[in-house]
């Protein structure tokens, strides 16, 4: 056997072995009640009123929980849909035909890899109590993560639902980065890079913003309360900035920028973008963690921002080029969706329109002007859309967040106080800036270290002939389209 094959064999054997160790004890611990709600106790002659009221209260709580859980499971599915096939199609259509499968495979591989890492240790590192920067190992192998809620995070749904919802975010975040090094990164190097990135960048960032005791957590003990409803800093800034670092480190594609490399199928990208828009309802409205009016508010804000983003980008294109393109319109919508992500559960509909419009214009400028001026090959504009859109969205969250939508800050007596700048709390903009800075620095430094390590170990870029031949054939032994067959 070659070294590579025996290495893969050892990895698989080790994985199976360690999984067996976890399956047996965990079975004993999480044998909780099966099904959402136990059958109501059989009514005997007539129970005393107090008992009956207690029974009814329990049933009401279970019904409410059932509604929340149904929505949260659907949201989890929607967010996964955003990666596969949403992002896979969106990115797949933008690359040249010879790289379409390799590009889609990168997203799919993350659906696989991150799930396994999350189950083993990822969820714990994000959401178990630990220090301000990283969670502890208490939830390793998902021990204790079962049907009972964790009241700190989401009191009305099983913690297992919360875990699987968060998993979908952990999947899509690294998938966004693949846009920066499209058409030239080795598949093996990508897998190694992403595994390390999930530990070194995503898990710490998610813990800091959303985990108990995280440095930036706005409600659970953070020293620098940063408002991030669904992941402007955790998902978009980390992936966008990491993408820029990757693009700069790996260098440009052969022939860029002189050789023409238009998208091989804007049709695929269009389908992907629409799936992203719809899936984003799960991403943002699902981050309410309940099925109540806050979810509705986030849903509406998300949709409005997408529309305004498309409008902004298309208007800018129409004015500059004389024609609004389909690719521009869908890119604008994505920009709006990115920017509203941190703000979605904190701002009103009109603010959402504003945020979307600003993002559409800013991201258009980043992609059509700034990228050309500086000459970096961020192939699918991961930094231009996610890095820039996430940054402006996180900052504008500090401006537009209001207690009228989400009374998230309370004083000592439990009364709601000002949230963002429009409410009168200018300090929040500064806190947002701090949180954004932490995200930028962690992503840039972490990514650079990981790139260097993986480069030294196995090399990052495919050889020239493989890049010319195309990654579908050179990395995966397949062709995307065999239309003559």
């Amino acid at each position: 056997m070659s070294w590579r094959r025996s290495g893969a064999f050892c990895f698989l054997a080790g994985l199976l072995g360690s999984l067996c160790c976890f399956v047996l004890p965990v079975h004993a611990q999480t044998g909780g009640p099966q099904g959402a709600s136990p059958a109501p106790p059989a009514a005997v002659s007539s129970p005393p009123p107090a008992d009956r009221i207690a029974q009814l209260e329990q049933q009401i709580a279970e019904a409410r929980s059932s509604g929340d859980n149904a929505w949260m499971l659907v949201s989890s599915a929607l967010v996964l849909l955003m990666t596969g096939p949403g992002l896979a199609l969106f990115y797949g259509g933008l690359v040249r035909k010879k790289n379409v499968l390799a590009t889609m495979m990168q997203s799919f591989a993350l659906m696989v890899l991150i799930t396994v890492l999350w189950a083993l240790v990822g969820y714990s590192l994000c959401f178990h109590a630990g220090n301000p920067f990283l969670g502890g190992p208490g939830y390793a192998a998902l021990r204790g993560v079962g049907p009972l809620p964790d009241a700190d995070y989401a009191a009305s749904i099983p913690q297992q639902t919360f875990m699987v919802f968060q998993l979908m975010f952990a999947i899509i975040t690294p998938a966004l980065i693949t846009g920066a090094f499209a058409e030239r990164m080795k598949f093996s190097a990508m897998v190694a890079f992403m595994a390390l990135w999930s530990f070194l960048v995503y898990d710490p960032m998610a813990h800091m913003v959303w985990g108990k005791g995280g440095l930036l957590n706005a409600t659970l003990g953070g020293r620098v309360p940063t408002l991030d409803f669904a992941g402007g800093t955790v998902v978009h800034i980390t992936s966008g900035v990491s993408a820029l670092v990757c693009a700069l480190y790996l260098g440009k594609r052969l022939g860029y920028p002189r050789a023409p490399m238009p998208p091989h199928s804007v049709v695929l990208s269009f389908a992907g973008a629409c799936l992203l828009w719809v899936g984003w309802f799960g991403f943002n409205a699902g981050s309410a963690l309940t099925a109540g009016s806050l979810a509705t508010s986030a849903f509406v804000a998300t949709h409005f921002s997408a529309a305004a983003g498309a409008l902004g980008w298309s208007a800018a294109e129409w004015l500059r080029n004389g024609k609004p393109s389909a690719l521009g319109a869908i890119s604008g919508a994505v920009a709006g969706l990115v920017a509203i992500t941190p703000a979605s559960g904190f701002v009103g509909p009109m603010s959402a329109l504003t945020i979307g419009l600003v993002a559409g214009l800013l991201c258009y400028w980043m992609v059509a002007r700034v990228k050309a001026r500086f000459g970096y090959d961020d192939s699918l504009d991961a930094f231009g859309v996610h890095g820039a859109g996430g940054t402006i969205g996180a900052l504008l969250t500090g401006v537009f967040a209001t207690q009228a939508i989400n009374p998230i800050f309370k004083d000592a007596q439990g009364h709601a106080v000002a949230v963002g700048l429009l409410d009168g709390n200018a300090r929040q903009v500064w806190n947002q800036f701090l949180g954004v800075t932490v995200a930028w620095v962690l992503s840039a430094v972490g990514t650079l270290i990981i790139l260097k390590v993986v480069d030294l170990a196995i090399g990052l870029r495919v050889p020239e002939e493989a890049e010319i031949q195309g990654l579908d054939v050179s990395q995966h032994g397949e062709e995307g389209y065999n239309l003559e067959a």
Binding site: P262, E317, G328
Partner: protein, 112 residues
């Protein structure tokens, strides 16, 4: 026998095919091609980057015909394919040494 090769606008293809069938032309090979003579292309813009597209889609029809059909076939094609604008295409004629039907190995005009 002669080979008649015609490169025409895709939008005229159905008319040409029908007209040729009417004069008794029974076999042809059709390919999608791209090319240009004097016709100018256009520019496309993707995310702020401009691409010049100067190879335009055309249809190529190839037929091998017995000598007595060649003139009427050429006239038919010219009439059906012409729009009067630049980009209408061209017809090329060349001599063919031999034609053989694969099924029964007929040769010459019998194979056409």
């Amino acid at each position: 026998m002669k080979k008649v090769e015609a490169i025409i606008q895709p939008s005229r293809f159905e008319l040409v095919k029908t007209a040729l069938a009417e004069i008794g032309v029974e076999g042809m090979t059709v390919t999608d091609v791209r090319g240009h003579g004097r016709q100018k292309g256009h520019t496309e813009v993707y995310r702020g980057r401009e691409y010049t597209v100067d190879l335009l889609p055309k249809i190529k029809i190839e037929m091998v015909l017995p000598d007595h059909l060649v003139d009427s076939a050429v006239q038919t094609i010219l009439k059906a394919a012409k729009t009067g604008k630049i980009g209408d295409g061209k017809v090329f004629l060349s001599n063919v040494d031999e034609a053989i039907r694969i099924r029964n190995e007929d040769r010459g005009d019998n194979a056409l």
